[in-house]
Point group: C2
Chain length 352, copies 2
DNA sequence: CTGAAAGCGCTTACAG
DNA sequence: CTGAAAGCGCTTACAG
């Protein structure tokens, strides 16, 4: 038994955690006064306040958040509910969210679950039991919600990268403008025959990015180079498109491609390269996502669109906090701007 | 102002959440009795118990976890502290952890932060304030801890995929045996000239995987094919190695390669393919990580080693719970077995 | 078998 | 300016 350990300290003489009672005693005041001093509330002589705060510091007192939650009816926790178990979207969102909230004393419960209603329900229930102050609902596509009813949920909710009804409050990237950014970049580089290869039509993001492609083309008086090519969100699809292009005479190929995501872009580039073509010399390629592990590893590294998911998480957290505090918040969807990240898959922009 | 919304319901007549007081009243008993009935504790007539439980169900009562935490001195929450903001390792771990704990009523706080001591301290502090019952410390390499002192932390801690002292309790993959698995697979396929290309020497995982490579070779009376090649954990490094091999006459090339991770493996394969060689015909390649987005997208898809990180998270959670409950737990490191995932980068195994 | 009381650690009116 | 009291929602001895 000597190699095993009873977890709770056996030394019962150690009273465990320092409570406000301990600091009150040490400072020679009542716990009510101690509480007010520590929260910078109420009125008392500066000396008393200082004495109490010093005592607290000396004892290493940290208020018990559970007790505080019980009386204040605020737990200073929020829940992040997501069906994005892979974390492609949720992880940057969670990072921005946590970073923004940690300073305000709020922590976030991560509830990532497979896309089935039962799991969703169990996790939602857990969040209610834990009395979270609010909920972030995050998904992996902007046209689907989680498989849960949020029936008159008594707590505020912010939707991020998932379906957002008119009466909801939510955040999404401005896919359309982001796509236009990509295409403008290609045009600025002198490309004129700009194709678009992207994901399945069923995704709202696909339609929006396709519109952005058309917008930018139109703004420059350019015709689309062929119809958009829709396939799966995979390297494999991009690869097959690249192969097909490589088999064509140069005059029938695009000189620029805007891809619906980085994986497709990589597939296109790999196929073109293997067929002896050069990216960006023969064809410039832009991706979408700025998924660094792809974008940086592609040869050449991908110029791509970043959705600023981390910033989205930050803003969603801040808005949720406002709602928790009862501040008025506009309903509806916020679309956050995307940004272009330039690497080497498009060539060098002409001198400005 | 009609497009904005005051978050807390304005209807004050709605008393908010159902409490145990409500169910006690509905069932015509005291709240003490209600509590016992709902927790299947104490003794009372089955009828009374049933009546109370029915009342609770009808009212939709769910116990307030905060109040329960305050009295029971257990919050039924744990913290997951990690510096793996990218989530490559932490995400599967978190998934396994949450899934295992949700059934036991415990939720997990996600604290992912950049690798600086101040952020680590702030997050650790937040977890202490929130009175978490225990902590999972997860990293992105097995030979580094988080930049925090865990000075006589009063709560139990389990380390996952990060440095684990002799007196600590932790989980890691059995890198050495996993590597041997990969090499045995190559040998079983008839490969005899088996090279090893992997990450930087400074990583303990590199040394362990290299030992596994040597172990398996030795067990079959084979000599290593050259010294291990150490570089960065990147496609780029694998690519440069592949290029160098492609330039060699076949007799000087390996016929099988065990790579330290999937990115390196992909780089090797891409370079060989671009140079006109065929994987797996000319060279069989095994990766490490089973990072699906790489392993599945590589042409051909990667045979690779999976570290079972999700299972690791599950077991870590269960052990942590045992510690929280005061059960005796063996100190020390647990090494969990890896598993081989067969795809197409090695060729078809000979009929058994 | 059931209930009144005390208490978890804190905060917030309300007296003095 | 400071403290005694009540209470957040629950559980746990302890009486009856």
């Amino acid at each position: 038994m000597s190699s095993s350990v009873e977890t709770p300290e056996e030394d019962v003489s150690v009273p465990g955690r320092i409570t406000i009672r301990d600091v009150a005693k040490a400072a020679g005041v009542s716990i009510a006064t101690a509480s007010k001093a520590l929260n910078d509330r109420g009125r008392m002589t500066p000396e008393t306040r200082a004495r109490i705060q010093t005592a607290a510091r000396d004892l290493g007192f940290t208020p018990n958040a559970v007790a505080r939650a019980l009386v204040s009816q605020r737990s200073f926790t929020i829940g992040l509910l997501t069906n994005d178990t892979y974390g492609r979207f949720t992880l940057p969102v969670a990072a921005g969210l946590s970073a923004a909230l940690i300073d305000r004393g709020v922590s976030v419960f991560l509830c990532a679950f497979q896309d089935d209603p039962e799991a969703a329900r169990v996790n939602l229930r857990a969040m209610q039991d834990k009395c979270v102050d609010g909920l972030i609902i995050a998904g992996k596509r902007i046209d689907r919600g989680l498989p849960i009813e949020l029936p008159r949920l008594s707590m505020p909710v912010v939707h991020v990268y998932s379906l957002c009804g008119d009466d909801d409050i939510g955040f999404m990237p401005d896919d359309r403008a982001g796509a236009a950014l990509a295409v403008q970049h290609l045009i600025g580089l002198g490309r004129r025959r700009i194709a678009h290869v992207t994901g399945p039509l069923a995704f709202a993001a696909v339609a929006q990015r396709t519109e952005g492609w058309a917008d930018a083309l139109k703004a420059h008086g350019l015709a689309p180079f062929g119809a958009p090519l829709n396939g799966t969100w995979s390297e494999g699809f991009g690869y097959s498109v690249g192969q097909a292009w490589a088999a064509l005479p140069p005059s029938e190929r695009p000189d620029g491609v805007f891809c619906g995501n980085d994986q497709i872009a990589r597939g296109v580039i790999d196929a073109l390269t293997l067929a002896g073509l050069n990216v960006p010399r023969d064809i410039s390629v832009v991706g979408f996502d700025n998924w660094s592990v792809f974008a940086e590893a592609t040869r050449p590294p991908l110029t791509t669109i970043d959705m600023n998911l981390q910033e989205m998480g930050r803003q969603a957290g801040l808005v949720l906090l406002d709602m928790v505090e009862g501040l008025p918040v506009e309903r509806g969807l916020r679309r956050l701007p995307c940004r272009l990240v330039t690497r080497q898959s498009c060539g060098v922009p002409p001198p400005a």
